[in-house]
Structure formats: structure tokens, C-alpha cells
């Protein structure tokens, strides 16, 4: 059994090689792709072309706005759902299953589902007609009404991806010993106080994970937007796709990808900083 020390390394080696080949290397390639011209020279041309593009400002604006609106909504809703689950005894498993169904639904499918609701002859217009608000079908998802496309995307994303936050938070809640909350109850804390002073601070690590994960995913929102608004609501990942596919320009596409990565990294660092100081403040 002298060779035993090498066993774990042999076991992880294939996955390490794979991740180097499919994560580290493409990451490097993307950075290089974005700062090199067609002749191989170093240049900022790709970023300049990106910034000068008509769609760039809107894409940046809408991506950030979507993230800022969607993520807090999802966290608050998922937190509410997780707390609600604690207050339910009968049928808990059934609720748990139904609430997590969206985990299996793709962003494209979610976009199409909400298209059925927001489209001209869709269910929203039918409903509005039913209660007498409108007479004729309204066109919601056109380039003239980017705000309604925005609302539809928010609805679809909240519908689809709140479940991820919910599952992470419930898993985190299970790690918190019941004794803390019980002790607080003995000392006369109200349920509201127990939530704010005991549960929430202890849930911080899970909240942090959920926030980071959801923010990164929200920053690369793509198929939902394409299904609901085409390019009428430009977003960064969508622009990367158009520059690669329609304009056949990998350099500018890579520049968009680098921008998405940059924002993701900044957001992650912010979460780690802000939430650490909060945790220490609570302790």
C-alpha cells in the first residue's frame, strides 16, 4: 500500500485536465481574442467597436437593470417561501415538489411560456378584456414598448429561477440548529425578532451563495429575452451571440463576453466584501 498516496491524485487528474482544457484555456483565449485584431496585433479595436455600436448602451443598461430588479425580487420571494415552508405541516412535500418544478425548465422554454401570456392574442390581453380594461388586443412585445418586454422578462425570470434561490436557502436553513431559535423564544423574542436576529444572520452564508449565483446567471440572461423580445430589448449576452453568429466577428463577441465576466467578478467581490462586514458586525 505504498502507492496509496497517489490514488487521490490519479482520481482527480482526469477532471482537472478537463477543466483546464475547457475552463482555464478558453478563458485565456477569450481575453486574447478580445484584445487582438484580425492580423494578430494587440489592439483595443474590438472594445471600441463594441462601445460604438448602437445596441451597446442599451444592452448594458438593460442587463444591469434586469439584474438589479430580478435578483432582489427572487431573494425576497425565495426567503418568504422558505419561511412559509417552515410554517406548513400538512402537504409539505407536495409544496416542496411543485415549487421546485421550475428548476427543470430551461430559460428558452420559460420565455416561450410567457410569450403565450404576453403575446398579442395571449392570456394577459384575454384577461384584461375579460375584466373590461381593453377592447382590442394590445401589442405588448414590440420595439415601441421596451418597458413591457422588460416586465415580461422579469416575470419569466422570477417564475423560472426563484426555485434555485429557494432550494439553496432551504438547504441552508436545515443546517441551522433549532436550539438557537428555541433559545430566543425562551428569552421572549417574537417570531419577527427571531427571524431578523437569529435566522437571517445564520443564513448569511447561504444567502451569499444564492446572491452570487443568481447575479452571475442574471448577467448572462439570453434566451428568455430572445423569446420575448428578440433584439428589441438588447442584452449583453444577446449581443455577444449576434456579433458571433450574424456578424461573424468573434473579436467583438469576445469583448462582450469579457464585459459580462468583468461585471460578474466585480459583483462577486462586492457581495463577499459587503456581506462579510455585515456578518462580522452581527457577531
Amino acid at each position: 500500500m505504498r502507492s496509496e498516496r497517489y490514488i487521490p491524485y490519479v482520481l482527480i487528474l482526469p477532471s482537472v485536465l478537463f477543466l483546464l482544457f475547457l475552463f482555464a484555456w478558453p478563458l485565456l483565449e477569450a481575453l486574447l481574442l478580445s484584445v487582438r485584431g484580425s492580423g494578430g496585433q494587440w489592439t483595443l479595436e474590438n472594445f471600441q467597436r463594441m462601445a460604438a455600436d448602437l445596441y451597446f448602451k442599451d444592452a448594458l443598461k438593460y442587463t444591469l437593470l434586469l439584474t438589479v430588479v430580478i435578483v432582489p425580487l427572487q431573494v425576497v420571494m425565495a426567503l418568504g417561501m422558505a419561511m412559509l415552508l417552515g410554517g406548513i405541516s400538512k402537504g409539505r412535500d407536495l409544496f416542496l415538489y411543485v415549487w421546485t418544478i421550475p428548476l427543470g425548465i430551461s430559460d428558452l422554454a420559460a420565455g416561450i411560456v410567457w410569450l403565450a401570456i404576453f403575446t398579442e392574442r395571449g392570456y394577459l390581453n384575454s384577461f384584461l378584456q375579460g375584466i373590461g380594461v381593453i377592447q382590442q388586443p394590445q401589442l405588448w412585445l414590440s420595439y415601441e414598448t421596451p418597458m413591457m418586454i422588460f416586465v415580461a422578462v422579469v416575470a419569466a425570470e422570477v417564475w423560472r429561477a426563484t426555485a434555485i434561490v429557494f432550494v439553496i436557502l432551504v438547504a441552508g436553513l436545515q443546517l441551522i440548529p433549532k436550539e438557537y431559535s428555541e433559545a430566543a423564544e425562551v428569552f421572549g423574542a417574537t417570531p419577527w425578532q427571531r427571524f431578523w436576529k437569529v435566522t437571517l444572520p445564520l443564513l448569511m452564508p447561504s444567502l451569499q451563495v444564492a446572491l452570487i449565483l443568481r447575479t452571475i446567471l442574471a448577467l448572462e440572461v439570453f434566451a428568455v429575452v430572445v423569446a420575448l423580445g428578440g433584439r428589441n430589448l438588447p442584452v449583453l449576452a444577446g449581443e455577444a451571440y449576434y456579433w458571433y453568429n450574424a456578424y461573424q466577428n468573434p473579436g467583438v463577441a469576445a469583448a462582450y463576453a469579457v464585459i459580462i465576466l468583468g461585471i460578474s467578478v466585480v459583483a462577486t467581490i462586492l457581495y463577499l466584501r459587503l456581506m462579510r462586514s455585515k456578518q462580522e458586525g452581527a457577531a
Binding site: 430559460d107 411560456v113 449565483l213 448572462e220 434566451a223 428578440g230
Partner: protein
């Protein structure tokens, strides 16, 4: 007592929030063309018809896309289990130098946007000759599913007592025999859940699949690229068909959902 009813009421509202949109798209997928374009629409289906769904399957390229999706997802499943399970086993059983660094590497991979991988890989795949193949897409999908596979199998193997394995050694099994005869049977349900999860990740993924294919589209890539010039019934039927397998899979692996996502906490 009142509070209990309020909780139940809110929980039911959330159930409806999840289920009604699925119900609506299913209704559209199973109605005829006039009902898809009807206005105003009733909440309940007017009449059951296979017209829309058979129209969808009749469109050229749909079956091929479904076949491609299944091929890619199956490859992703095999790759991520074969690469992930040994690593998970190593993390669970051996305290080795670098284990924490490895764990960090695995977690970090989840922090990268897909665009940063898919774009350079598309460029490279053209040069290597695996652009527009199921294999190429499966490689990227494996990169997405592998972190989960490693972390889930690791917590899975942690749950199987080491003593069982050691007992097998004393009874004359070598390491590989002990693993195959004692650990593997116990880990099988969890491994199956990991595999199914990898399958769902691949089945649902659209960005990389669209970028990395041209003719050999997966179903989501095919749907996405034909969205703008396809009629609504086609889109609705396609959207519904995308959801169905995912629903079944999530139902099968629901017991493992919290292991799958809960591990993100550590």
C-alpha cells in the same frame, strides 16, 4: 389558527403561480390552430386536438434536433459521471494535500459566464474539426455539469461508511473489487440522480449549443434560431416539448435536489 390558514393560502397561491403558466402552454400545445390564435382566450381549453403538436413534429429538422439533443445529453451524462465520480470519491475518502484548492477550482468554474467559454471554444472547435458536432457541444455541457457531479458524488460517498469498504478488504477484496461490490451498489441511486441532473443541464442549455452548431442543432438551438420566422403554434408546441422531459426528471430526482444545490453552501 388563522395564521395557519394564511400560510396554506399563500402556499397554494405559489403553487398556482408555478403551475398555471405550464397549464396554459400545455393547453396551447394540445389545441388546434384556430384556438391558438383565438381572441379572447378562455382559461380552459376549448377542444383537445393534436393539430399543433403534430404540426410541430412535422416541421423539417425537428426530429433531427431531438435526436441531436438526446445524443448530446447522453454524452454529457456519461462524461460527467466518468470524470466526476472518481474525483468525488477522492474528495470523500482521501485527505490529500490540494483537496481544498481542488474544491475551490470546482466552485470557481460556476462563477464564469458561459459566453466566455462558448465563444473561444467555437473558434477553436472549427480548427480542431469538432465544430457542429454533438461531441463538441457535449464537451461544453460537461464543463457545466462536472462541478455538480464532483460535489454531489463526493457527498454521496461521504454518506457511505468507510468501515463497509474496510470490512470488504479484510474479507479478501482488493480495492477495486471492494468498490464495485460494496460501494457502487449503495451509491447507485445517487449516481443515477447525478446522471439525470447532467442530462437535464444539457437538454436545457441553449447559448453554447447555438454558438457551437450550424446544421447539427440541438432542440433548444433549433428552436431559438427559428423563433423569429416560425408561427406561434410551432413555438408553443416546442416550448411545451422542452418542458416535459425536464418535469419528469425533476420528479425522479426530487429527493436529491437539496443535496444537488445544498452543497453549494460548503
Amino acid at each position: 389558527m388563522n395564521l395557519r390558514w394564511l400560510y396554506l393560502f399563500l402556499a397554494v397561491v405559489l403553487v398556482l403561480w408555478v403551475l398555471i403558466p405550464i397549464f396554459l402552454i400545455a393547453t396551447l400545445a394540445f389545441s388546434d390552430r384556430p384556438s391558438v390564435f383565438a381572441w379572447p382566450k378562455g382559461l380552459l381549453p376549448q377542444q383537445f386536438s393534436l393539430e399543433t403538436i403534430s404540426f410541430f413534429f412535422g416541421v423539417e429538422g425537428v426530429w433531427k434536433a431531438i435526436r441531436n439533443s438526446l445524443t448530446v445529453a447522453a454524452m454529457t451524462l456519461v462524461f460527467s459521471v466518468l470524470l466526476g465520480a472518481p474525483a468525488g470519491y477522492a474528495l470523500a475518502r482521501y485527505p490529500f494535500a490540494g483537496a481544498d484548492a481542488y474544491r475551490l477550482l470546482i466552485l470557481m468554474t460556476r462563477a464564469f459566464p458561459l459566453a466566455i467559454l462558448a465563444i473561444p471554444l467555437a473558434v477553436q472547435f472549427i480548427q480542431v474539426g469538432i465544430y457542429d458536432t454533438a461531441f463538441g457541444v457535449a464537451l461544453v455541457h460537461t464543463a457545466l455539469a462536472l462541478p455538480f457531479a464532483v460535489l454531489v458524488t463526493s457527498s454521496l460517498f461521504l454518506g457511505i461508511p468507510k468501515e463497509l469498504e474496510e470490512a470488504a478488504w479484510t474479507l479478501g477484496c482488493n480495492r477495486i473489487q471492494a468498490f464495485l461490490r460494496v460501494v457502487l451498489p449503495l451509491a447507485l441511486p445517487g449516481l443515477a440522480a447525478t446522471a439525470i441532473f447532467a442530462f437535464v443541464i444539457s437538454w436545457n442549455e441553449v447559448f453554447a449549443a447555438t454558438l457551437l452548431t450550424l446544421r447539427e442543432r440541438t432542440l433548444p438551438a433549433f428552436l431559438l434560431t427559428s423563433l423569429n420566422d416560425s408561427p406561434l403554434p410551432f413555438r408553443f408546441a416546442g416550448g411545451f416539448f422542452l418542458i416535459v422531459p425536464a418535469l419528469i426528471f425533476i420528479f425522479i430526482i426530487r429527493r436529491y435536489l437539496f443535496t444537488l444545490w445544498g452543497i453549494a453552501n460548503r
